[in-house]
Symmetry: C2
Subunit: 149 residues, 2 copies
């Protein structure tokens, strides 16, 4: 069982490594059999390769994550943190537009997107994240025109 | 399925009715068979009577909840909101102290407590909250001396 401070630190360290574009470092926080759902409702995906592809697209979009105060739980497993992530519309935007999650911008190459979400992580006895869920809906993502962010 | 805006509004309306001490109004947001776990790790409880007792103790402690921006999900079910709740040490504090969650204050009758948490609600097709989880750990609750809040 991992203590509360360590679980909360894992959640924010996740954001820091995303911001540094440190995909290898990010993967080191995750159990190889990690299950994740980002956003909640998109279906569970499993494992390091899937997570690398998922986070890699955000990093390719020069994502920056501002995180709020993390909280823990009393089951010895969870931590949660509110995050505001801002990233280029490309490469992820067209995929989201295809599913009607965002409206395509006039200038895709220069537009940015902002998404507010709550990340809930479940940390195993090994100290690695075994499960990650990101709660955000269509109403929590906005396409920003150039200069708007 | 309840739309995102309605689910987010339910989460913050929950906080507003708590602040008004409106227990009957609060219960109206909840399905009669609601399952809730507050804090996560304390075990699930079920039903209106259990929820009334739980929320009633907070209301008896003159709780005030400041809520942040709620977020939704893309499964048509969830919303999440970060909350900072401040309440009298009594009547809940001694119970928490008994389990080592807080240290008893010098002046229990005048002390307050502050807890930061993330509330995740699951809303059914009826528009009522069917499940509520409040993520907070021992490190997220502080006993405030008189005048500190």
């Amino acid at each position: 069982m991992v203590d509360e401070a360590t679980r909360k630190e894992l959640a924010v360290e996740h954001c820091r490594r995303v911001n540094e574009g440190d995909l290898d470092g990010l993967l080191k926080l995750y159990d190889e059999a990690v299950r994740f759902e980002d956003p909640v409702g998109s279906g569970w995906r499993v494992g390091h390769a899937a997570f690398r592809a998922h986070a890699g697209a955000a990093v390719a979009g020069r994502v920056h994550e501002d995180y709020g105060e993390p909280v823990a739980s009393q089951d010895g497993l969870h931590a949660a943190v509110p995050v505001t992530a801002t990233m280029d519309y490309l490469p992820n935007g067209p995929f989201l537009a295809q599913y009607g999650v965002v409206q395509p911008p006039v200038d895709p190459a220069r537009a940015r997107m902002r998404v507010r979400y709550v990340m809930v992580v479940k940390v195993g006895p090994s100290g690695l994240i075994e499960e990650m869920r990101a709660f955000w809906g269509r109403s929590d993502i906005t396409v920003l025109a150039p200069g708007q962010d």
